[in-house]
Amino acid sequence: MNFKLQPIPMTLTALPTDPLRPLIRRLTGDEKHDASSHSTLDVLWVLYDRILRLTPETADAPDRDRFLLSKGHGPAAYYAVLAAKGFFPADWLDDLGGWDSPLGHHPDRVRIPGVEVGTGSLGHGLGLAVGVALGLRAQGEKARTFVLLGDAELDEGSNHEAIAYAAATRLPLTAIVIDNQSATHGWPGGIAARFPGWVTAMVNGRDREQIEYALAKRHHDRPNLVVAAVEPKWSNR
């Protein structure tokens, strides 16, 4: 069932698009999370451009697809994608973290249209996503639930409660782990090995075709994991 897409080149080439780069550049306030903010860029773009049944007009529709950014650190790419897709004006990007700005260094669902969950403290998004997927199922909604985590975020034990439960109940949500090898003690044996019972796919997190292919596939009776590898956070590893 598992499939791998190889190889994964680890050099960040100039992105062929895009409206995103200038938008990200406007987010100059986010220096603390600079590296982590760009690791998610291509996955987020593919999600919002090609996968999610979600627009600014349907941002509150009960049958919309849900995307939860669990890894709330470094939301610059997230904000840039949301702005590019019209969820809020691009002007908002110019005052990241400001007193009058809806955009903080971690996203707040109450302040930002299109943001499903407020995150920042790691290890909360997957459990919330399990609840969202269960809630949609209980109400007969066919909408998909996606959640994005970082490889270092998997250190948080709360994730492993959700991983085991989703597998045991064959809950068809899709988790994406951005792997930039930032976990302090690493994941010897690979990240997918921590998701027993899930359908797993490995993709190059900079290859939008691979990402789209993996995210479009959907197993309805199993939880789905897509590990998106990008350039390592620290080059000396």
């Binding site: 009960p62 707040d108 909360h124 459990g127 919330l128 209980a138 109400q139």
Partner: protein, 290 residues
């Protein structure tokens, strides 16, 4: 008794209202087995995973359901405190947390199974209504009230019950009129009534310490006040001080002590150890009012 009323009422709510959901972490799973068979999509037992239980409840609420979340108080509140703070409050969603065990129902189980600090922990967060019923006949109405909206509600169930139910206990309800006010929260009423049998005091009861009935306090307090609560002593000190701000008064706050009692026995033994039996209450109330 209270736990059974909770199971029965919630099972009824599941049948009546398609918004109702129940999230468990193994505790009481057997009692909910019939409901789980009837509503497998809305009665969810995540196993012994309290962080997930709370996160799942937050996620269910985000989709418009009304989750009832249940476990032993230390596992429901103490253990998953950050999930309560972030997966509910920060997401601007609600749930109904229903605990059993209270401060020392688990007397023989020991401190791991006791949560004298649950209400104080929730007091650090915004917007929690707290119900502490004193009788199992008060429980159903409180749960049904909580099912009817989307706010954050904590229901603290216990084995210790008063001999009589007061369905109108959401405000301060005067049980006996006399001199200085003694407020009994939830199951503290019977020991307070016994302790003050021959004292000239007013005894008022409430099963809703949050929000505390500030207007009732201002009406009833005439210089002196004794609060008797079944969780950490002084938990309501701030609320009392705010309610009576600018009104000269003396206050005595009685409740469970902060020191761990490294003994087993019964809940009655622990009540006595914390001075919350009738004799202990009487000596401290009489001394304060002397």
């Amino acid at each position: 008794m209270m736990r059974q009323t909770f199971v029965d009422t919630t099972t009824e709510l599941l049948a009546e209202d398609p918004r109702t959901a129940v999230v468990l972490a193994d505790i009481s799973a057997d009692a909910f087995a019939p409901a789980m068979r009837r509503h497998p999509d809305r009665v969810l037992n995540v196993g012994i995973r309290e962080q997930l239980m709370t996160g799942v409840a937050g996620g269910l609420a985000l989709t418009g359901l009304r989750p009832f979340v249940h476990s032993y108080a230390p596992f429901l509140v103490d253990r998953a405190y950050e999930q309560i703070k972030l997966d509910m409050g920060h997401q601007d969603v609600g749930a109904v947390l229903v605990s059993i065990g209270a401060s020392y129902d688990g007397s023989a189980e020991g401190y791991t199974h006791q949560s004298p600090g649950d209400v104080e922990l929730l007091d650090t967060l915004e917007g929690w209504t707290v119900y502490v019923p004193g009788h199992s006949d008060e429980v159903a109405a409180l749960l049904r009230a909580a099912a009817g909206h989307d706010d954050r509600v904590y229901v603290r169930l216990t084995e210790q019950e008063n001999s009589q139910a007061y369905p109108d206990g959401s405000r301060l309800r005067v049980i006996r009129r006399g001199g200085p006010l003694v407020v009994a929260v939830g199951p503290m009423l019977d020991p307070v009534l016994e302790a003050t049998r021959d004292l000239d005091v007013t005894v008022a009861y409430t099963n809703t310490p949050r929000p505390l009935d500030a207007e009732g306090l201002r009406l009833l307090v005439d210089g002196e006040l004794v609060m008797v609560e079944p969780y950490l002593a002084g938990t309501s000190a701030r609320q009392v001080a705010e309610a009576l701000g600018g009104v000269p008064h003396r206050a005595l706050h009685l409740g469970v002590g902060r020191g761990e009692i490294r003994r087993y026995g019964t809940w009655q033994d622990h009540a006595r150890a914390h001075g919350l039996d009738a004799a202990g209450l009487r000596s401290r109330i009489a001394e304060f009012l002397w």
